[in-house]
């Protein structure tokens, strides 16, 4: 083993440190520690001359380890690592002791602060002894992209990437592209045409030189890791196509809730109780009539069917309120004199232009009735023969506090959005996790809403949670951005301070596998050892702590390094 030659640098940070810490005394004490070749104090280590000092010393004294005690490593660790690199040393042969934020700025007794600084630096010195050279690693990116799901999100992402000239494989389970949007007539809040939006996009996707569409197709398993995936596309007539790609976008979309699960609604038993998607069909075909072919005179729309109720889905499906408002306008257009009832619990018309739609709808002579979606849905029964209508709805109206009857010829159930039925299989195939309700989990709900914990796999649109079209499109393009950035860069850098398994020790107990939040560890049954995929590993070190045999080493945070740091820290304590 090479001789350990450590350089220690104590920063004054002007007076910030020097005022409270006797930096000279610290440097002096450090010189006593074996392995420390030089220990210096300097006014501003982070300044150019400060860094130059380190570089000179490395060259002059043949240092192979450096400790800087200054501010928080969160501020300047990178700065000093770069300095080491400039001097030809591996940047990881460096450790920082934080004697500003954690010492001089928070203490008031100079002797104590100095003592503490000594301890912190001694700890860093002890730690740096065990540091190893770590190399930056990156993987090359295959510029092709696989998109699973050909709805508005999938198509938008596909066009975005393909228009930039990169290959896209678009895999759709159905026989045509378009997904849910292709089944819609108009879009809230401006009642623009859904068909005029989606059809040109479908045409473009189908004919795009850079997009290869697979219809009636599915993906069963994806192999590889970010930048280098491969999979087989299975199509109906036993057609198998092997594809290679660097990134995956999952856009499997949604499926409507089945209201026959709720007895009260008598869906399927009463012919004029239909779901929102069934109404879309009627609207598209102009066939907006009852089962007997007559025009409905009383139309009721019931919100939150399957949503916001713990017996079904606790979540809000986000789009139904605005969709219902859209329906009211459409029905009003078709039947200027019909009675329209919106039976809701909160009107969630939150998007741009949506509150305005709500106001407008209210002016369309629509009766808004509120029910408690947490309790029972309105009960739909066949009306007595003496009635002029088909059906009767009964429920407690919240705004008046009265129990009311609502006559109806046609009832539209605003059904919840559910994750697609094969969401689970796809999750398994591409390696994304799901929340309890089968929607995919994003990497970070706020700051990384489209990436997943699996590098190179993105989830967009309603498969991540219910979403309207603009939000789905934004997400789709967000994922496209990430992918284009990576393609443009040509490679992705992967975490350096990953975990690594010592195969000579690993006994194959598999404790580590379920511990990893990134599914970066898999079991090699042949060798009977766990293997860390260092591309997926983010270096949290949890597996290292969980490993009972000590076979897993968390690079840069090894047991040795930390135990040694503890020894160092404690070597400078005052005797009591």
């Amino acid at each position: 083993m090479e001789e350990i030659r450590i350089g220690v640098y104590v920063c004054w940070c002007g007076t910030n440190i020097a005022k409270m810490v006797d930096v000279e005394a610290v440097a002096k004490a450090m010189r006593e520690i074996p392995g420390v070749i030089v220990a210096k104090d300097y006014k501003y280590m982070c300044s150019d001359p400060g860094q130059e000092l380190i570089i000179q010393d490395i060259k002059e004294h043949n240092l192979n380890r450096v400790v800087v005690s200054a501010c928080s490593p969160r501020i300047h660790e990178l700065t000093f690592r770069k300095a080491l690199e400039n001097a030809g040393l591996n940047p990881y042969m460096f450790e920082m002791a934080n004697i500003r934020e954690h010492d001089s700025w928070v203490h008031t007794d100079r002797a104590e602060a100095t003592q503490k600084a000594k301890a912190l630096v001694a700890g860093a010195i002890n730690r740096v002894r065990w540091h190893e050279s770590l190399d930056k690693r990156s993987v090359e990116i295959n510029p092709a992209t696989l998109i699973i799901g050909g709805g508005i999100a999938g198509i938008s992402a596909a066009l975005e990437i393909a228009d930039a000239g990169k290959q896209v494989y678009l895999v759709e389970k159905q026989s045509q592209l378009g997904g849910t949007v292709a089944k819609l007539d108009l879009l809230f809040p401006h009642l623009d045409s859904a068909q005029q939006l989606i059809q040109p996009k479908i045409n473009r996707a189908m004919n795009h030189l850079s997009i290869q569409c697979f219809l009636n197709a599915e993906i069963r398993e994806v192999f590889g890791y970010i930048g280098n995936f491969e999979a087989k596309v299975y199509q109906k007539d036993d057609l198998e196509t092997e594809i290679q790609f660097g990134n995956v976008i999952v856009a499997t979309g949604l499926k409507p809730f089945d209201p026959s699960k709720i007895d009260q609604l008598n869906y399927k038993r009463l012919p004029n109780v239909i779901t929102s998607l069934e109404l879309e069909e009627k609207l598209l075909s102009g066939n907006l009539v009852m089962d007997n072919g007559k025009d409905p005179k009383h139309i009721a729309l019931i919100h939150c069917i399957g949503s916001r109720n713990k017996n079904h889905h606790e979540y809000c499906s986000r789009t139904c309120c605005n969709t219902a408002l859209k329906y009211s306008n459409q029905i009003r257009s078709a039947f200027p004199d019909a009675a329209i009832y919106e039976i809701y619990s909160d009107i969630r018309s939150f998007g741009k232009g949506c509150e305005e739609l709500y106001t407008h709808t209210a002016r369309q002579d629509v009766m808004f009735l509120m029910y408690d979606q947490k309790g029972e849905v309105p009960k739909i029964t066949e009306a007595r023969h003496s009635e002029k209508v088909n059906m009767m709805l009964e429920f407690r109206e919240q705004l008046s506090g009265e129990h009311v009857e609502v006559p109806a010829d046609l009832v539209v159930l605003m059904v919840a959005m559910e994750a697609h039925e094969n969401a689970k299989e796809i999750a398994h195939a591409v390696g994304v996790s799901m929340c309890g309700n089968s929607f995919y989990i994003e990497k970070h709900p706020k700051l990384d809403p489209v990436a997943t914990t699996t590098g190179g796999v993105y989830v967009v649109g309603s498969c991540q949670s219910p979403k309207d079209i603009p939000d789905s499109v934004s997400q789709a393009r967000a994922a496209a951005a990430r992918i284009m950035a990576d393609i443009n860069f040509g490679s992705v850098e992967v975490e350096v301070t990953t975990a690594v398994v010592n195969e000579d020790i690993c006994c194959g107990c598999q404790t580590c596998i379920s511990v990893c939040p990134y599914t970066a560890i898999h079991f090699d049954a042949e060798k009977n050892v766990s293997v860390v995929n260092e591309i997926l590993c983010k270096g949290c070190g949890t597996c290292g702590s969980a490993c009972p045999t000590g076979a897993i080493r968390s690079r840069h945070f090894t047991d040795k390094q930390i135990l040694s740091q503890i020894e160092g820290l404690m070597s400078m304590q005052l005797q009591h």
């Binding site: 969160r74 954690h102 928070v106 503490k116 912190l120 511990v515 939040p517 983010k538 702590s545 009591h576």
Partner: protein
């Protein structure tokens, strides 16, 4: 001379270490008895480290991580929580006061909470007096 304990603290990089930094940038004052070791995640803290700290003479050990649900690595802090309770039972059985090992959640914005926590912990340890592990090991017969 009044007993001045030494407390070794393991702070996760994303929340707690940043919170401690914030205490610094906000110039909050707290007891100087603490010695911080940075780990990427509280999930990295393993019992060996804690026991080692006691063995080397620490009078208390503090572990801080992100608040439950906030872990940068999803759930490392929960792993830490589980180990913490088992470890507390162990050290108690080994004749130490449970309070010598403390786990708390400090977010990146809780500089003040961190300062208060250190003061509180220092006070607690002062009341408990010096930890005997090192002494006991050094005087084995």
């Amino acid at each position: 001379m009044e007993f001045e304990p030494t407390i070794v603290a393991f702070l996760c990089n994303w929340c707690s270490y940043t919170g401690a930094d914030l205490a610094g940038t906000s110039r909050m004052k707290y007891a100087s008895n603490i010695r911080v070791i940075r780990v990427m995640c509280s999930g990295r803290v393993e019992p060996t480290f804690v026991l080692k700290a006691f063995r080397e003479g620490a009078d208390g050990v503090l572990i801080c991580g992100c608040h439950p649900g906030d872990c940068h690595y999803h759930e490392g802090n929960y792993k830490c929580l589980r180990r913490y309770h088992l470890l507390q039972n162990y050290i108690e059985q080994m004749g130490m006061d449970k309070r010598r090992l403390h786990l708390d959640w400090i977010s990146a914005s809780e500089g003040k909470q961190f300062a208060e926590l250190v003061d509180k912990m220092t006070q607690t340890i002062k009341e408990l007096g010096p930890c005997q592990v090192k002494h006991s090991v050094e005087t084995l017969t």
